[in-house]
Symmetry: C2
Subunit: 569 residues, 2 copies
């Protein structure tokens, strides 16, 4: 039976996967804590993602701050554009997302303007769902949590709405670390924040959430990927924005037919599928939907969402975008730093061009010690930056306007060794909590007749790899069980020792939390006979049981985790 989100959330709470935050104080909507099992499952997802991006692809990882000064989000656009439309009830003052109020009356309520929404309230007689009062004016509400850095309110800070900006603002450090070469792949996982007006849908829309983001900086003229041929014949379920219809094709076809913009983007769309399926996402409930034209960011070359079918409907859990030069261009512009890449030609070329040249003689007396910086800033400009005979340069944080006394545009013929390009960004951005929840829904099986729940979690993500039970906690059975537990658990494969209740109950507890295997120590283990020194190992999905040597239990668990089929035991 498919998962019902309420049942699944109840299981998650009862068994320690996730807990609504601050429940003893009445709770806060849109916030969840990861309990003991959830914390392990979440870490396992992170490790699976790292194994692909850091291990297989050799990308580098950073960990940057969550509180950021305003400059960062001025450049990224979040200060000006990261907002939902809000309206308050005029009677009870309750806040609502304005577009949610008119659902059912419009197909895409989120494209309505504040004025259109206000008119819609009147036209359709929409009232406060809590008290029936009139809804008030519609305003923008910025979704970043705001705070102050240091005393007073002089320095505004925001909790980051995405981990990506921490990579972009460190781009120059990262580029140097990579010895100024492209491609440069950087990953980051951690908290992000979105101060939702009225969060709903459990873990799908959280105010404090976890991301795993990948920012791959590439040469804009080289959007290929060396390992592309290895996966080019693999299949993808795609919904292109040209047809809006589901179509299955190979990665290679998708690029050749122009469905996916380029090979590097297609490679990472497929990588996303690999990662999700390896962690137990059902491929039959996974598709990639291209952003529709009015949905795609104006700067994006192409953008795909990995969507999974949940009890909430098709839900985005990963976005894979070619963001063009947007991110670095913006931060270069707002910080005044050069974030371009020098691309060497195979042979130097002779080119004719117009250039902006500083008049150093005029700059020296005027700018003194700063003159060199001003000259460099001038010569970093191109002739198109000259407006009405004037230019503006940013030096040490200050805007300086200059006229023809300080610079000139000259026509030159030069041998150039290469050219400067702004790297483009390929971004697979993963919603960790959504992936976590989706894995649970796709693993969930409830047998109504037997009132029995099994989570068919892939071993790689299962929080507990093996349950270890002494049939009775006496006669030395418990010693053998504890010994196996120590060996397996301390070596890093999470184990759970359970000595209470019938064996059936103990299996049921492990099935319910998705433990792939259970080991039982019984009297045959300790008594003379053909099975002395052996224990029973049981497989969660087939319920098959085999006897193995107790002394080999750790090795066998390691082999099963490495992919050996249970049947071959």
């Amino acid at each position: 039976m498919a998962a019902n989100s309420a049942d699944l959330l109840a299981l998650c709470k009862r068994r320690g996967f996730i807990w609504p935050s601050f429940e003893v104080y009445g709770g806060v909507a849109g916030m969840f804590d990861y309990g003991p099992l959830g914390c392990i499952l979440k870490n396992n997802i992170v490790e699976a993602w790292r194994a692909i991006y850091k291990g297989r692809e050799g990308f580098i990882e950073i960990d940057s701050e969550t509180v950021n000064p305003k400059d960062v989000f001025k450049a990224s656009g979040h200060v000006d554009n990261f907002a939902d439309l809000i309206t308050y009830c005029q009677k009870c003052q309750a806040p609502f997302r304005a577009d949610h109020m008119v659902k059912g009356f419009y197909e895409n309520p989120d494209i309505l303007t504040p004025k259109e929404l206000e008119e819609a309230f009147v036209k359709h007689n929409i009232k406060c769902p809590e008290c029936g009062g009139d809804l008030g004016p519609v305003d923008e509400f910025n979704l970043m949590f705001k705070t102050n850095i240091g005393p007073g309110s002089a320095r505004v800070g925001y909790l980051r709405p995405e981990t990506a900006q921490g990579i972009f603002v460190n781009y120059l450090n990262l580029y140097r670390y990579n010895r100024e070469k492209l491609p440069l792949g950087v990953i980051q996982t951690g908290r992000s924040y979105r101060n939702e007006i009225a969060p709903r849908q459990g873990m799908i829309r959280m105010r404090e959430f976890n991301q795993m983001e990948v920012e791959l900086f590439v040469d804009p003229e080289d959007k290929d990927w060396a390992k592309f041929p290895e996966i080019e014949n693999e299949k993808l379920d795609l919904i292109p924005n040209t047809t809006l219809e589901l179509t299955t094709m190979t990665v290679k076809e998708a690029v050749e037919k122009g469905v996916i913009a380029n090979r590097v983007l297609a490679y990472f769309v497929y990588t996303t599928k690999q990662l999700l399926v390896s962690m137990g996402i059902d491929p039959a409930r996974l598709r990639f939907r291209e952003h529709e034209k009015d949905e795609m960011a104006h700067y994006a070359a192409d953008c795909w969402d990995a969507e999974v079918l949940l009890s909430y409907g098709w839900t985005e859990i990963v976005g894979i975008a070619d963001r063009g030069c947007w991110d670095l261009s913006r931060h270069a512009q707002f910080s005044g730093q050069d974030m371009s890449h020098f691309k060497k030609f195979d042979v130097p070329r002779e080119v004719e061009m117009d250039k902006v040249k500083a008049k150093n003689k005029a700059l020296g007396p005027r700018f003194k010690g700063q003159a060199k910086d001003v000259a460099a800033a001038i010569e970093a400009l191109s002739p198109s930056d000259v407006k009405d005979g004037k230019i503006t340069v940013k030096v040490n944080g200050e805007d300086i306007e200059l006229d023809g006394e300080s610079f000139e545009v000259v026509h030159v013929k030069e041998k150039v060794a290469g050219e400067r390009v702004i790297p483009h960004v390929i971004e697979p951005s993963h919603g960790l909590d959504r992936i976590f929840y989706s894995i649970l829904e796709h693993a969930y099986e409830y047998d109504e007749k037997e009132d029995y729940t099994v989570l068919h979690l892939a071993p790689v993500v299962a929080p507990i790899k093996v349950g270890i039970f002494p049939l009775m906690e006496k006669d030395g059975l418990d010693d053998v069980a504890r010994d196996i537990y120590s060996k397996v658990h301390v070596a890093g494969a999470e184990a759970y020792y359970d000595g209470s209740g019938t064996i059936g109950k103990r299996y049921a507890r492990m099935d319910e939390i998705g433990t792939p295997w259970c080991i039982t120590v019984d009297y045959e283990t300790v008594e003379d006979g053909p099975n002395k020194g052996t224990v029973t190992i049981r497989d969660r999905d087939t319920k098959d049981q085999k006897r193995i040597k107790a002394s080999e239990a750790k090795d066998i668990i390691d082999k099963l985790l490495a992919g050996m089929p249970f049947a071959s035991l």
Copy 2:
């Protein structure tokens, strides 16, 4: 040569361990980002800590939210007491920590009151260090970052100043997960925040920092630890608050002489030493200092700081405290939830006692559907809660005052199966960034004559385990090197492929970032002869080199990481 913090921070920045945050926007004091090498080193520290607390001790881990509603920090005391004293220059408005202004004039400036500080400014003619202006009045400045949850300012939130509170507010969930048994050990790692007035000292005082906290809930009458005998003869360098002098004794002696309050606390003081030393902290620069009596929290039974000697002087990097029943008592009181543990007697005892009993007949008509909750809240009180014949109960968030019509105090004789106790908390709290920095300082060796730097990082924390170099990037040497790289790196032991510069330069680069071993592929590897198929492996600390089979490189790295001495190769 001992580390100089400026040199070390320069190395950290140059080689990608840590970067001052937001440098392209002018930076923010007290904030650092972990670069590629730092991120791995930091994760390695977390894994070493997990291996002890989760692996060896079997504690459970959670991951709770960083934005918390005000109630949490009202209960914890942070809203009222987590403050530094601040003064502003009356001329330039620059903010300063008031106690820092009078350093040099007083031995413990941090115990002065605001009034005493204001008087001290006048008496010692202390002026603004930036502009010479007069310092203004001294006020409290709360060090929590403040924000609002949801729209408007109705719901104040704070960024947590410690991860511990996330464990305490989940105590009931955790206790149930542990089947209502003690001891119950819970760990959490993640971000915490402290909005410093004027941060200094690099990574020692960060506004956004990382913690690894352990909260061990124990029976207040049973402060023993089963594994204590395994370590009781190990030695500790202690500074007790009775003598304030360094003394070395065994863990057992420390408890028997009353130097450390109890066996469980002493066990975790020693565990802290084990963890730190295993990660490369120099035991000769590590000591445990007991909080002085006026320094210790009033509720703490005992508290020790692990201090390491850094270029900044002796610095606290871990605190290990017996916090008594403070944390759970406060949250029980503020949330109105019962957080006690039921401790079963071996045989039931007959006891006489006074009890508060609800008068159910009076409650029904008055409280209707709530009557049962009110009755339960009444009977959870003890006779000492009755003040002037009245009691106050909290039901569903509301305080209700009741008089003798609703309850009575009765004298009863009862068979009781056990008693309710509030668990005590043993808390080893680790400053992750400080540990990170201390490991680097203790690993740092700079040879001035040779202008050569080596980081002697313990292999368990070293970010790169092995550097892999082809002597030349041709003739197939690079293929062999890349093959070894893939096998080692993809299996999870971080490797670094370097094909440029002289071999000496490449060794130097790896020594500078603390890579324990390097493998070089040369012409002997590929040409016929006795060394065909072998590569050179070099040890960082001894500079010894051996030839090993290329095909065995991965296994050998695994064995070295598991502790095999290089000399035995």
